[in-house]
Subunit: 329 residues, 2 copies
């Protein structure tokens, strides 16, 4: 671990920034110019073992690779923004309660440590909120005054823009994955029962698929994963299984859509937003046909059913989180 | 349709005002001075037959009686505010979709008609939102930047203050009663399934109590109602039955509390507010012991369970809605 901040080299192209989307599965890095055009990008798997130092090293590696792709060194970047899971303290750059990151117990100074390695200032924000802000500023949420971002991936995250401004509550708003859709229902990866994520999150979907496969339900899901050399069921694997008409994948995603419909409609009954943006690994991979299915699944639960909000797929796709992080002040 | 933040309820700079809380069961009228002190009040049952003209006449009658109690005529009031169910158009004074009011199909010019009868200007607002604003400005929500009002009565309504400002979305925010707590669950009075109100609203509780009583489950609920000359199970009747240890009342309210816990926690997982205010007929009648029970029922569902928001009973009690209406600009 370095103990000193490396000297910051200011380049003439000071508008060029880095952005990192730190996910439970992958780390996505981008370098963008002042017009938010992506000049370079790189992706690394999130370490599954080790601890915070390994995660910081992997982030730095991804950022360096993205910088190289853009023909730059990281010290030439005006700033690097990181959208992080867990609880983020933007003032100190510390991250705590990041359960999806290995060995991340307690609070760790992600921002300062990463800044040391990259030789440039680092700003931190919540991963889902920065992706929401990116869609609001540059993507499918442009022109709307209020939006709900639903990020359907490993888990299900949510971000809010209300009256043109992000709403983060006491710092923990947007946990749409943990809206209860069925009291006493399925166990969620978070340990609680009946959360929307327990039916719709990719981790929960995979666990349920394994369980039912072990009980003898036929599925190609794990065969496809083996062929692709994957240990986990990625969004692409789910999409491939669906395309082949896989019965288990179809059944589990039907249920996921039904529960997303109920949970998102519940939130809209409370907030009555202008637009709902569907992002996340599964949301982006399955695309507008699934956004339409979620809209259909919402319909029976919407209190003002005569004017449902549109459900649109995130414009910035897979890179939204990283681009959003690059916008951090 | 644009999303707007509702105008902030302002205290009258001068003058004595009237306020009306138009509920599905009763019409509550107050006359307040510039310091929001109640100078007079009156209550009338909401007509159960007839149409909009009968409702307007009953409101006018309640307001006149409150004015008499304050030693005034209604034409001496600077303004009368009305908190109305249904969809309110503050600009025209029209109310539509007020399902709990008799014969109220389509849109009716409640504001202008009432103004004619009272000889003073009438301002309209959403019933639940004005009650929320009253608690925020004068009641249990004072000093908080964000609050969720939960009005537990005939139905379950919700009101939001976020960042010190009411949030009404596209005009229909706050429908917390129709947050889905159990997909495929009990039929709600709204016609949908699994809504929180289907388990917790007084109409739903009464329907379920009748059904189980008819099937032979012992209860004093209807005996108490007969003794009191009531056709409906009022909040006071539920409270009396609970005090006697009535098994059916206990069972149904236990379930209501469990479902309120899940639904309110779901909303807090999304909004992460500073305080939750419990109002409404049942909320105010059952009081802080039930607010504490709802807080307990929320605990297993709260994502940030280490810092739950306090759940406080509405300070302004039964008169909150009418006082809130008197604040309408």
């Amino acid at each position: 671990m370095t103990t000193k901040r490396a000297p910051v080299a200011r380049s003439p192209s000071a508008g060029i920034r880095g952005g990192i989307d730190l996910g439970g599965t992958k780390i996505q890095a981008v370098v963008v110019d002042a017009q938010h055009e992506v000049l370079g990008q790189a992706r690394r798997p999130t370490p599954t073992q080790g601890g915070p130092a390994d995660v910081v090293a992997a982030i730095a590696d991804a950022m360096r690779a993205a910088a190289v792709a853009a023909g730059l060194q990281t010290s030439e970047l005006a700033q690097v923004g990181v959208g992080s899971p867990g609880t983020v303290d933007p003032a100190t750059g510390a991250v705590s309660s990041a359960k999806n990151l290995p060995g991340w117990t307690g609070s760790h100074p992600l921002g300062p440590q990463l800044g040391d390695q990259l030789g440039t200032p680092v700003a931190l924000g919540n991963d889902v909120q920065v992706a929401t802000d990116a869609e609001a500023a540059l993507g499918a949420g442009r022109g709307y005054d209020s939006m709900l971002g639903v990020f359907w991936g490993t888990g299900v995250g949510g971000g809010l823009v209300l009256g043109g401004t992000p709403w983060i509550g006491r710092g923990g708003a947007g946990e749409i994955g943990h809206v209860v859709v069925k009291v006493g229902g399925a166990r969620c990866p978070c340990g609680r029962r009946g959360c929307m994520e327990a039916y719709a999150g990719r981790n929960a979907l995979e666990a349920r698929a394994r369980e039912l496969h072990d009980k003898g339900e036929p599925t190609e899901l794990f065969k496809i994963a083996r062929k692709r050399g994957r240990e986990r069921l990625t969004s692409g694997i789910w999409a491939a299984a669906l395309e082949r008409g896989d019965p288990l994948a179809t059944k589990l995603l039907d249920r996921a859509v039904a529960m997303l419909g109920a949970g998102v409609a519940s939130v809209d009954n409370i907030l009555d937003v202008e637009v709902i943006i569907l992002g996340g690994g599964l949301g982006v991979r399955l695309g507008q046909p699934f956004a339409d299915r979620i809209a259909q699944a919402m319909a029976p639960h919407l209190f003002f059913s005569d004017r449902p909000p549109p459900v649109r797929v995130a414009d910035l796709g897979d890179l939204g989180g990283a681009i959003g992080a690059s916008l951090l002040a």
